[in-house]
């Protein structure tokens, strides 16, 4: 995958978020403050505009632009978290990525989210979708799957991780204020991460 492919991924992610904006916001209304969809959409709209205005010439430059733009435009919790993830991905990215390279990049992103947000698995955050996705990607590639299939496994794992957040009691972010009342709802950030991985499965690998 080259800069163009990865740009397509980001654009597809932006498209999915725009499409699911109201759903994300509704999820965040239930256990947060009702802005996750609006936040992510504002940031990704700016990302798409930035990429169009000045197309980056390497995966690293692409991820850096995505990360900086999200940091500058999203705000809230998801801005620094997604932003840090992409900045870490920029630092880890080679000029062309194969499946394993992409997996390494994605894991750096996950590490960035954890470093910034200090969430552990089971805290009912985006980590609960991104962690399983990265693990599934590694496992599928290790068991010899092609990139496309491995990305699909990662997207499925993200989706399952998101589903698994439903019964959880939140321990990080706004939802944690709710205590027991946060159980019974999926985490909004885990939901947007699922869109990120679905975008990867549909645009990356061949």
């Amino acid at each position: 995958m080259d800069t163009k492919d990865l740009t397509a991924w980001i654009r597809e992610f932006a498209g999915l978020v725009a499409q699911h904006k109201d759903e994300l916001t509704a999820l965040d209304s239930a256990i947060g403050d009702g802005d996750h969809g609006v936040n992510m959409d504002r940031g990704l709209t700016a990302v798409v505009a930035a990429l169009e205005a000045e197309p980056p010439d390497s995966p690293s430059a692409l991820f850096k632009k995505v990360g900086m733009t999200l940091i500058s435009k999203v705000g809230g919790a998801s801005g620094p978290l997604y932003g840090t993830a992409f900045l870490r991905m920029a630092a880890a990215a080679d000029s062309v990525l194969d499946g394993a390279g992409f997996a390494k990049v994605l894991r750096s992103g996950l590490d960035g989210v954890v470093a910034r947000g200090k969430a552990q698995p089971g805290d009912k955050t985006m980590v609960d979708a991104l962690g399983p996705a990265v693990d599934a990607l590694d496992a599928a590639l290790a068991s010899g799957a092609g990139t496309k299939a491995a990305l699909q496994a990662a997207a499925d794992a993200a989706e399952q991780g998101r589903e698994a957040t439903i019964p959880l009691v939140a321990r990080k972010g706004r939802a944690s204020y709710l205590g027991e009342r946060s159980a019974g709802h999926p985490d909004p950030g885990a939901t947007s991460v699922t869109l990120l991985m679905q975008a990867a499965a549909s645009t990356l690998g061949s």
């Binding site: 802005d35 435009k73 809230g76 998801s78 932003g83 321990r171 706004r174 204020y177």
Partner: protein, 333 residues
């Protein structure tokens, strides 16, 4: 949704233009959405900045001016500002004595201020200290939450630390004063109705006509529990008790008692609540040394109130009484 706005997308920008027009003594950086004290940076003075999601006005922009904040960053409604804003604010108020970041304890605010501090450290070398405000006893402060939210104490911190900075005290001391206020302040809020975020267009939560939400956050985050609507004296009890059980308020120089309106509650009701609060305090042997009654940290059009009690001592009272000249709080000048 009925609001005096043109478009949710331009609300913040439009309101900032109104603030600039109404308060020529302030400078507004429209690109970065930062409201700055007109004479900033003040040479040799510690700069104080704060910021957060919009929708809590007059917090924070209404507290910019001599004796309080040097700058405030306005985020989208209920969404923490982005680091670029805090960086711009820090630069604008850096008078050579360092800058204090007053951060309400929300994951987003904390992380964005953190990123900003990292960016400032990398670029400019301005000394930055952050103080995180977490006074809301509605939230359990434990490993299992993001910790207490920052609510009413923020106003008191901004006033009192602002006065300390105005005295020319060094950054470490100003930060210490801010932390002291946070350590000795507790708050608890209550909603009679939900707020409506303009971009969402409908109430954040549904609250039946006969119910109220106790322990509400200032972003419409649900509270501790829903209970039937009750008379003001019972409501005061619900707000004051958890505060008093969390901190021993006896034996000091009394309290600074702050009854805050959530945005849609008339002042007459706030005064009535203040009466109930002072009576409860009297019953508990806690004298009221100073008071503040009004809508100072709001939640858009939410009806309800919060109570903040700060255990005071000589130093805090002196700084509280010091002159201040901001759009929302002014005395002695």
């Amino acid at each position: 949704m009925k609001k005096l706005i043109n478009d949710p997308a331009t609300l913040i920008q439009d309101a900032l233009h109104g603030i600039a027009a109404a308060h020529p003594q302030l400078r507004v950086d429209f690109e970065n959405r930062v409201i700055v004290r007109g004479d900033a940076p003040v040479r040799g003075k510690v700069g104080l900045i704060s910021g957060g999601g919009s929708g809590h006005e007059p917090l924070h922009g209404g507290f910019v001016g001599p004796g309080m904040l040097d700058a405030a960053c306005a985020g989208e409604v209920f969404t923490s500002p982005v680091p670029d804003q805090m960086v711009a604010a820090t630069q604008a108020v850096d008078g050579g004595a360092g800058v204090l970041h007053i951060v309400k304890n929300y994951t987003g605010d904390v992380m964005n201020f953190e990123l900003a501090a990292e960016m400032v450290a990398a670029d400019q070398g301005t000394e930055v200290v952050a103080v995180v405000i977490d006074d809301d006893v509605a939230v359990q402060d434990s490993l299992y939450t993001a910790g207490r939210r920052g609510v009413g104490a923020t106003v008191l911190v901004e006033k009192i630390a602002g006065a300390a900075a105005e005295e020319g005290r060094p950054l470490a001391e100003v930060a210490e004063v801010a932390r002291k206020v946070n350590t000795y302040a507790r708050s608890m809020g209550l909603a009679l109705t939900s707020c409506t975020v303009p971009a969402a267009g409908r109430p954040t939560f549904e609250l039946p006509d006969d119910q109220m939400e106790v322990g509400i956050g200032i972003h419409g985050e649900p509270g501790r529990r829903r209970v039937p609507v009750a008379p003001a004296n019972e409501i005061a009890e619900m707000l004051v008790s958890p505060i008093l059980s969390d901190l021993d308020y006896t034996g000091g120089d009394g309290v600074i008692a702050f009854v805050n309106g959530m945005g849609a509650t008339p002042l007459i009701e706030l005064y009535l609540m203040f009466n109930e609060v002072t009576q409860l305090l009297a019953k508990n042997g806690i004298p009221v040394a100073r008071s503040l009654v009004g809508p100072y940290i709001t939640s858009l059009d939410m009806a309800g109130c919060s109570v903040t009690l700060l255990k005071a001592d000589d130093e805090l009272l002196r700084l509280w009484d010091a002159p201040v000249n901001t759009p929302a709080l002014r005395r002695g000048v």
